[in-house]
Structure formats: structure tokens, C-alpha cells
């Protein structure tokens, strides 16, 4: 039984395994990083550590919109990063059987591992490794 943090990116609902998440930061102060790429929202001070904040909406080429002040701090080995979503919701349990495969549009790289249903909505499970790889490449 996985636990998935559900959040919104634009109109879409996305999910990320709790295992990848360190913490959800409570509205940290966002510092602007000069001369940074557009998908970086800024930097936050997380327990003395400086973490860049990735604007998922921007990175996944969603239309720009508001951001939830709570930032998702990732717990990935060798990666100090936080994610910004449109809205952070709750943690939902996920049964492995409920996962459904996802067919992305051809010619377009998608960062969605799978989808599953929850309370009448489709939740796209984020493919974090691929995302990080892509990020390192950029």
C-alpha cells in the first residue's frame, strides 16, 4: 500500500509517492534567483539548507497559474529540490492494483508513470526519476 501525495497542476490532478517526499514546507519565504531558467520559481531556506524550487506547471508546460505557498521538499539522494504545485492536497492510500497504465501522446515526453482513480478523479502519478533526469539535462 503506497501513500501518494495528491496535488494539482493547473486543472490536472497529480500524485507523488510519499517515499520521494521529505516534507511539505509550510509557506517558506521564496527568494528570487537572478538569471535562472523560467521553470525555477526561486529558492527557499529549508532548515538552514538552500533549496531551489521547481515550478512544475512551467516545467511540464502547463499554462501559468497561482502556486500553493506550501512547497514539496523532495527526499531524493543527491538532489536538493522542492516542487511548487498549484494546490497541495492530501495523502491518499494507493493499492498497487489500482494503478493503470498511461499512454502518452507520441512525440511528447510525459512524466507520468501511471494513473489511478481516486474519489471520481483521475490522478496522474508523477515519474520523478525521469523528471529529475530531464532536469539535470536542462
Amino acid at each position: 500500500m503506497e501513500q501518494v501525495l495528491v496535488f494539482d497542476l493547473g486543472e490536472e490532478r497529480y500524485g507523488l509517492e510519499v517515499g520521494h517526499i521529505q516534507e511539505v514546507a509550510d509557506s517558506p519565504v521564496l527568494h528570487y534567483i537572478p538569471q535562472s531558467p523560467g521553470f525555477f520559481l526561486g529558492a527557499i531556506n529549508f532548515h538552514g539548507q538552500i533549496l531551489p524550487v521547481l515550478d512544475l506547471c512551467n516545467f511540464l508546460e502547463f499554462p501559468a497559474g497561482p502556486h500553493d505557498p506550501r512547497k514539496i521538499v523532495l527526499a531524493v539522494e543527491g538532489c536538493a529540490l522542492a516542487l511548487a504545485a498549484t494546490a497541495v492536497h492530501r495523502i491518499v492510500p494507493l493499492a498497487a492494483e489500482a494503478l493503470l497504465p498511461f499512454q502518452g501522446s507520441p512525440g511528447r515526453e510525459s512524466f507520468i508513470r501511471a494513473v489511478f482513480h481516486h474519489q471520481g478523479r483521475m490522478i496522474n502519478l508523477l515519474d520523478l526519476p525521469r523528471l529529475l533526469r530531464r532536469l539535470e539535462a536542462a
Binding site: Q3, V18, G19, E23, V24, R70, A75, V88, I91
Partner: protein, 424 residues
């Protein structure tokens, strides 16, 4: 020696008789035959008689001829010569007659002279009289014309007076109407003043009520403001609660994450975190409901405030209107009082005018009377003038008659020729 004709006749007769007797006596002495005695005596008698007769009658006839001539002359109107008889030996009545005739002639002469003079004078006077009477007729005609003109003028005057009188009567009527209307106006003004006073009092009472009401409304407004303040406080508290709930939620989230990382050992912790999350959700929900309620209350309160402001504005407008109404009533009272004063003035003036009109009527009546008197007098004058005119006419006629008479007289006496006349 005067011997009367009868005596002369007697004497003659006696002479004849005497001569006859004488002859008769003488004849026998003369030697005449007795036959021829009678004849002779008769013849002598006749002869003597004829002789005497011839002598007498000659003288007589001559006298009578002269007398006749004289009388004839007299009858012809020739008064110039006297009858002159030859001086007789024995004057008798013939001389008397001649003297009388001469007297008559003389008297007639005198008379005719006087008549001539008188009739000449009369004719002159008659002429003068005629001329004067003509003048008088002319002037009395003029007078008559003037009187006629005066009479016409008096008619016109009377007409004018009638018109004037009528006008004044109409004027008096209209003055009365004006006075009547003025009194009505005064009455109406009085009513207006009373009504306006009532209205003013009503306005004041309404103002007081309004002021009280506005005071209360202000109090209500203040209360609502204080409500609003309380509600704001509630809102703030609810915000705090909401914040706490959110933070609790986050905390539960992070706790779940930690619990997941803890694996097996964190399962209980995860459950607790889940419960906390649920509680936080419930709190959030309730806080949300409270917020919604607060919003509703705030909206309603705002509405109430807005409507109260509206009311207040309307009340203010009403107050201003009542103020204006009060002022208007004051103005109405003032102008009504003014109208009253004016109406009273008009009524007084009308009374004066009526009195004046009355005086005018009297004056016009007086004038009318004078005119009537004038007309009557004029009539009299006219009548008198007519009489005068008639008398003038008569006088003229009489003068003419007189003149004619004088001329007639003159003509009559012109037959008579006086010694002074140059022509016959």
C-alpha cells in the same frame, strides 16, 4: 249895409208890386186907353220886374258863378285861390257864403298842409318802423336760431349727462364688485394664513418627530457598527482557527510522510496522523462555515447599513424638504398677510371711490337738473321769441299798412293844390 237875400227878394217883389200899383195908378194919368191900361201896367210891371230881376240876377248869378267856381275849384282840390266876390253895394249872405267858403278853403288848406306834413312824417316813421321791425325780425330770427342751437346743445348735454350717468352707475357697480372681490380676497387670504399657520405647525411637529426618528436611527446605526466590529473580531478569530487547522493539516501531512518513511514502526503514527488530519479537516470545514456565516452577516449588515444610509439620506432629504416646506409656509403666510393688507386697502379705496361716485352722481343729477331748467328756459325763450317774431311780423305788416295808409293819405291829399305847391 247888409241886406239879406230874402229881404232883397221881398224888396224887389214889393218894388214890382209897387211899380205895378204905381203904373196902375199912373196909367189913367198917362192917357192910355183902359184896354191898354192893363196891358200897359202889366207890361210895365213885367218890364220893371224883368229889369229888377235882371239886375238882381246878374249880380246874383255873377256871385253864384264865382262861388260856384270857387266851390268847383275846391272840389277839384285847388286850395290856392280864395273866392273873391266883386264888392257889392249891399252885401248879403252871398258874401257870408264866400267868406265861409274862404274859411273852409283856409281851414282845408291848413288841414291838408298838416295832413301832408303828418303823413310825410308818418310815412317816414313807418319806413323807419318797417326797417327796424325788419332788423328786429332778423335779429329775433338769429335769436331763434341761437336758441335752437342752445336747445340742440342742451339735448346733446342731456345725452352726454345720461351717458355719463350711466357710466358712473356702471363704475359704481364695478367698484362694488371690486370691493366685493377684495373682501373675498381678504377672506381667502385669512383662510390661507390660517391654513399656512396650521401647515407650519404641522411641519414643525413633523420636524420634531423626524429629528427624534433620526436620533434613533443614528443610535441603530451605531449599534450596527458595533455589531460589525464584533463580527470582524469573530472573523479574525475564525481566521486564526482556520490557520491553526491548516497548520494542523500540514503537520498531519508531514507526520504521514515521516510515518511512511518509518515504515512498519510508523504505521500507528500514520493512523494518528490520519485522525489528526481528519480533525483538522473538520475544523477547517466548521471554520469555513463560520466564515461563510460571517460573510453573510457582513453582507446583510452592509445591506442594512446601506439601506440605513439610504434611509438617513432620505430622512435628511425629508428634513430638508420639511424645512423648505416650513419656509414656504412662512412665505405663504407673509404673502397672504400682504394680500390681506392689499385687499383691505382695495376695500377702503373702493369705499372712497363709491363715495366719490355718489358725489359724482349727485353732481351729474345737478347738472341734469340745470340742463332741464336750461331746456325749459330755452323753450320759453323760444316761445317768447316766436311770439316776438309774430309780433314783429304783425308790426311789420302794420308798419306796411301804415306806410300804405300814409301813402294813400298823401295820394289823397296830393289832389289838393296849396298856394305853396309849385306844380298842380
Amino acid at each position: 249895409m247888409r241886406v239879406e237875400v230874402s229881404y232883397k227878394f221881398i224888396i224887389g217883389f214889393i218894388i214890382v208890386v209897387g211899380s205895378t200899383v204905381l203904373v196902375n195908378l199912373m196909367t189913367p194919368h198917362l192917357g192910355v186907353t183902359p184896354e191898354w191900361q192893363q196891358l200897359f201896367s202889366t207890361g210895365v210891371a213885367l218890364f220893371v220886374g224883368l229889369l229888377l230881376g235882371w239886375v238882381f240876377s246878374k249880380a246874383f248869378t255873377a256871385n253864384f258863378r264865382v262861388l260856384n267856381e270857387g266851390a268847383g275849384r275846391l272840389s277839384q282840390g285847388d286850395l290856392s285861390k280864395d273866392v273873391v266876390l266883386p264888392q257889392p253895394l249891399l252885401p248879403d249872405e252871398t258874401q257870408d257864403l264866400a267868406a265861409s267858403l274862404n274859411q273852409v278853403t283856409g281851414n282845408l288848406r291848413e288841414l291838408v298842409g298838416i295832413i301832408r306834413n303828418s303823413s310825410a312824417k308818418v310815412a317816414e316813421s313807418a319806413q323807419g318802423l318797417s326797417a327796424t321791425s325788419q332788423e328786429m325780425t332778423a335779429s329775433s330770427h338769429e335769436v331763434a336760431n341761437t336758441v335752437e342751437a342752445i336747445s340742440r346743445g342742451a339735448e346733446t348735454q342731456a345725452e352726454m349727462v345720461e351717458r355719463g350717468s350711466k357710466l358712473i352707475r356702471d363704475m359704481a357697480l364695478s367698484i362694488e364688485q371690486v370691493a366685493h372681490s377684495a373682501s373675498k380676497v381678504a377672506e381667502a387670504a385669512n383662510n390661507t394664513v390660517n391654513s399656512a399657520k396650521n401647515g407650519g405647525e404641522q411641519a414643525r411637529a413633523t420636524m420634531d418627530r423626524l429629528r427624534r426618528f433620526m436620533g434613533e436611527t443614528e443610535k441603530n446605526g451605531e449599534q450596527i457598527l458595533s455589531f460589525g466590529t464584533q463580527v470582524q473580531k469573530i472573523g479574525k478569530i475564525v481566521d486564526v482557527i482556520t490557520g491553526i487547522a491548516q497548520k494542523t493539516n500540514l503537520l498531519a501531512l508531514n507526520a504521514t510522510i515521516e510515518a511512511a518513511r518509518a515504515g512498519e514502526y510508523g504505521r500507528g503514527f500514520a493512523v494518528v496522523a490520519e485522525e489528526i488530519s481528519k480533525l483538522a479537516d473538520s475544523t477547517s470545514l466548521s471554520a469555513g462555515e463560520i466564515t461563510t456565516l460571517i460573510e453573510t452577516i457582513r453582507d446583510q449588515s452592509q445591506q442594512v447599513q446601506a439601506s440605513m444610509k439610504e434611509n438617513s439620506r432620505e430622512l435628511e432629504a425629508g428634513r430638508a424638504a420639511i424645512d423648505t416646506t416650513g419656509l414656504a409656509f412662512e412665505e405663504i403666510i407673509q404673502s397672504a398677510l400682504g394680500a390681506q393688507a392689499k385687499a383691505t386697502g382695495i376695500a377702503e379705496a373702493s369705499t372712497q371711490q363709491t363715495a366719490g361716485a355718489g358725489a359724482l352722481v349727485k353732481a351729474i343729477d345737478e347738472i341734469s337738473r340745470v340742463i332741464t331748467d336750461n331746456a325749459a328756459a330755452t323753450e320759453e325763450v323760444s316761445a317768447a321769441t316766436e311770439e316776438q317774431s309774430a309780433a314783429m311780423e304783425e308790426m311789420a305788416h302794420a308798419a306796411q299798412d301804415l306806410s300804405a295808409l300814409a301813402e294813400q293819405l298823401l295820394a289823397t291829399v296830393s289832389r289838393f293844390r296849396l298856394a305853396s305847391d309849385g306844380r298842380s
